[in-house]
Amino acid sequence: MPPERREPREAALRHCLQIGVDAIKAGRSPLDVVELVVRELEDNPHFNAGKGSVLTSNGTVEMEACIMDGNTKKCGAVSGISTVKNAISVAKLVMEKTPHIYLGFDGAEAFAREQAFSDGMETVDSSHFITPENIERLKQAKAANRVQIDYTQPIPKAEEETSLPNGDSQIGTVGCVVVDGYGNLAAATSTGGLVNKMVGRIGDTPIIGAGTYANSLCAVSATGKGEAIIRATVARDVAALMEYKGLSLKDAATYVIEECTPERTAGLIAVSATGEVTMPFNTVGMFRACATEDGDSEVAIWHDEPCD
């Protein structure tokens, strides 16, 4: 991967990691921290979320996001966001301000407007999110008549790269998982979806148990080929393996990635209540970063870089 594609993302990862670490140290709750970090990633045009989201077959942006609190298992999700700057914040408001969990499209946008004076509900023209790279990607995907899952390169090649910090695979979803010193957990994921996706196509990100999940044992955010992640209920299964089969976080996560999803379709980041972190993936690479209280911290892309 050429440096000009790699470096801005690595730098962003480092920056977001630091923001998260500082927030945890300042005593912010894991739920607030994951939102904060994902907002930062959404605002960064190098990732497929918020600004920089890939385009639908109509050349529009349809963003989706999801957040979950481990202790209460309260969750919030949105799909079809096109004018709100930070979809993850809309998801959090759905969780906090409505009796529901998941709002989509017109309903989600209308709700965001009603909440316009809440923190972080900034709405913009949808052109804000569109970048030249993504216009190019869409053109190429249409020319190849494919839905492109590898969006990190404008030219649809077999080579895979991912483009999301904190555990996001090829599809470019961004995510963050956090455990604080008391074992409280939270997970958040946000994405623009697949290049050239059908208008209205919903991926794994907003599906509780697929792309996002947190309970009192662990918090998980997955990324990759949405349909594979949904089918394998990836995020829930990591937790279920820990709960029902007594596996460790690392073994559970590895099992799900290696045995439950096909090659080159998925990756995830996960933390446990006891402070462990794991980031397995079965794609060529996955932009990721992690940090723990005892001072370890890593930013990585490929398989041979240790980050567990």
Binding site: C75, A77, L103, I149, T233, Y244
Partner: protein, 304 residues
Amino acid sequence: MGGWAIAVHGGAGVDPNLPNERQEEAKQLLTRCLNLGISALRSSLSAIDVVELVVRELESDPLFNSGRGSALTEKGTVEMEASIMDGPGRRCGAVSGITTVKNPVSLARLVVEMVDNDFFITEDNIGMLKLAKEANSILFDYRIPTSGLESCAAVVEKPIQMNGLPISVYAPETVGCVVVDSQGRCAAATSTGGLMNKMVGRIGDSPLIGAGTYACDLCGVSCTGEGEAIIRGTLARDVAALMEYKELSLQEAVDYVIKRRLDDGKAGLIAVSSKGEVAYGFNSVGMFRGCATEDGFMEVGIWE
């Protein structure tokens, strides 16, 4: 052991004061749908075809809320959603926000076919979708709000509550079917008109794989009840996960999730296993359901 099995539901959370005629009507509908499924199974239709067939019948009848008879949003409009899952390969499809298609479950089935093409979505597939929409002629245009029904709130003294509504007002909003065919293949489908008085755009558990619907090599599950509790508890997936990871039997897994995965929520579910077993469970006041197995067992019920 072995052989086909089928279960259907017409929603969890039933008004204990439901008039007898309504109860009879419901039981007749459930029986009719079971028989439809049974004939299909006897003609060797695959599990996924059978669940689609049966849910279409449930959607078309206005008695249960889904398709015709769907509950209204706070604006008086209808938004339907459905999902379907095929155990072999865990192929699945889901739709939400449907307002003009007669049978949402069939639209969900079409999504399965498209997704199955790996991630190759072409003009042809989109065309197929358009054809389906046209073939499913519009019975009611749910996009037009029904006037005078913008607010469906009702005040009752100390009512049993379901999904935040008094049970006399609340209409159990979901239908579903699970089937294991004589080859041991499981499938599940769930369809709903959604929650009465819900926010526009609210998506519930019915179209969410792992929450309202799930099927794999081991079992097929369809849930109904308080959507948010079902989502939080990833109910349908957990039945299968308990069988897979904790090696519980179908009934044990069903009992476990109803007892321990719902917290304060009220819900019910139906399930079949690849071995030809059928099971159901609910912690709500009643659940419209029916089940049948190849060895001649058949039962339709509402209460415990």
